[in-house]
Amino acid sequence: MDLIWDGLREAIHIIRTGDYSVWSITLRSLLVSGSAVLISLVLGVLAGAVLAFKDFRGRGILLSLVNTGMGLPPVAVGLLVAILLWRSGPLGHLRLIYTPTAMVAAQTIIATPIVTGFTAAALRHLDPRLRTQLYALGASRPQMLWVVLWEAKLPLLAAVMAGFGGAISEVGASMMVGGNLAGETRVLTTSVILEVSRGEFAPAIALSIILLVLIFIVNAILTTVQQQERM
C-alpha cells in the first residue's frame, strides 16, 4: 500500500517539477501511438468499408481473420516485425530496427485489425438502402463513402479509442522492435518495465499513473466529441 502512495506522491512531484525526461517519454508515447492510430485509421476504414460493402468470395473468411486480428497478441506481432527488421532479416537494409518508426509500424499492425473490425461492423449496421439513396442523390462512389462514414462516425470514434488504447498500452512489441533506448525509443510502457526491473517501484507507479491519465484524457476528448455529435 505504501508503494502506491509513494508512487502517487512521486507522480505529482514529477508533474509539478516538470522533469524533462518523463515529459519527453510521455510525448514520445503519444506521438508513436498517435501516428500508429492515425495510419491504422486510414487503412482500417478503407479495409472495413470494402469488407462491409463489397460482396466477394472469401469475405466471410476475411472477416473472421479480422476478428482474430483484433485479439492478436502484440508480442507476437512485435516478434514478427523484429525478425523482419533485424539486419539479419529481409528488411534489415532499411535500418529501421530500434527506431520509433519501427514501433509505429508494429503498433499500426496491432491497431489496424481493431479499426477494421469496428468499421466493418458499424457500416454493416447501416441500412443498405442508404447507399442506394445516396447514389440516387447523385453521389459518386467516393462521395457515397464519405457521407456513409460521416453517418457512422459514432462507432468510428469508438474504433479510434479502441485502437489508441491498444497501441499505447502495449509493451511487448514496443520492447522488441524499439529496444527501449533512452532518448530514442523509450515510451511509458517500456519505462515501467525498466523501472520495475531496477526495483524502482515508485517511478514505475508514477509512470503507470501518467499512462492511465493520458489514456483517460484522450478518451475523454473523443467521447465528448462522440456525444456532441449525437445532437
Partner: protein, 322 residues
Amino acid sequence: MKKIRFGMLVTALLLSFGLIACSSDNGTEKETVQPTSAATTQSTPSGTAAPATSTPVERSGPKDVIVATTTSTQDTGLLDVLVPLFEEESGYNVKVIAVGTGQALAMGGRGDADVMLVHAPASEKKVVDEGVGIDRRLVMHNDFVLLGPSSDPAGVQGTTVATDALAKIYEKGAAFVSRGDDSGTDKLEKALWKKANLDPNGQSWYEESGQGMGATLQIANQRDAYIMSDRGTYLATKENLSLTIVLEGDPGLLNAYSVMQVNPDKFDLVNGPGGKAFADFMVSDKAQSIIKDFGVDKYGQALFTPDAGKTYEQLGLATPFG
C-alpha cells in the same frame, strides 16, 4: 461548418504527428531516464550536465552503432555514463540493446549488432572460433556474490567456498532463485552446482525466472530466497532489497567482461568502424579511469575493477575462455 472544422483538425493532427514523429528519429536528445528519485542520480567525473563545449563530430556513413550487452551490465548504470561520453566524442549514435548473454551473442552471430560487451568467457569462445567475434579484449571484472535472507535458514553465513554453501542450501531445501536464462550469471551458477556434484533441477525449492538480474533479484527478494548475483547489480539495487551477502570472495566467483567487435567482413550491414571505435573506447584510458571510480561515491566502493591490457591468465582464469 462543423464538418470543415473537424476536417481541418484531423489534417492538422495528421501533419503534426507525421512531422514530429519523423524528427524524433534523430535521437539527438540524450537524457537519462531516471525520474527525480535522488537515489539513482549518478555523478560523472566530468560533471553532471553533458558538456556543451565540444560539438559532435560529423560522421559520414552509418551513424548508428548497435551494442549488444547484458541486462546486468545495463542495470549497473555504468553504460549510462560511458555511452553519452562516447557519443559526444565520436559522433556515433549508440543503441544499447540489453538482453541475456545468450541473446547478445546470438545477435552478434546474426550480424544484428556491431559490438558485443558480455561476461561469459566460456560461451564467448564459440563466437570467436567461428570468426564472428573479433579482437576480443578484456575490459573489466567484478565478482558474483551469494545473497540470502537475513534469517539465513541454510546457515550459509561464514562459509568461504561457494560449492559448500550450495551444498548446505541443497540439504536444507532452502528457497533458491536462479536466472535460468542462459546468461553469463546463469552459466556460472550452473557450473558451480555441477562442481558441487549437485543437481537442483526439478527440486521444489529451486525456481528459474528466465529474466534479467534486476527482475530476478526482485523475485528472490519477495520469496526470501537465496540467489547468486553479480556485485554490480546487487549494489545498484541494494536499497530495494532485504537480502544480504552471505558469501563472497571465492575465486570461482570472478566475472570477467570482454568487448568484441562483430566481424564486418561476415555481414554487410555491420558498422565496422563504429564497432571498432566503441571497443577501442571501452579499453581507452578515459573509459578505464571512469570504470575505476564508478560507484565509489554512491556505494563506498567501486563496482568494477578496470582490466584493459591485462591477460585473462593474470586474472586467475585458466584460459582466455575460463
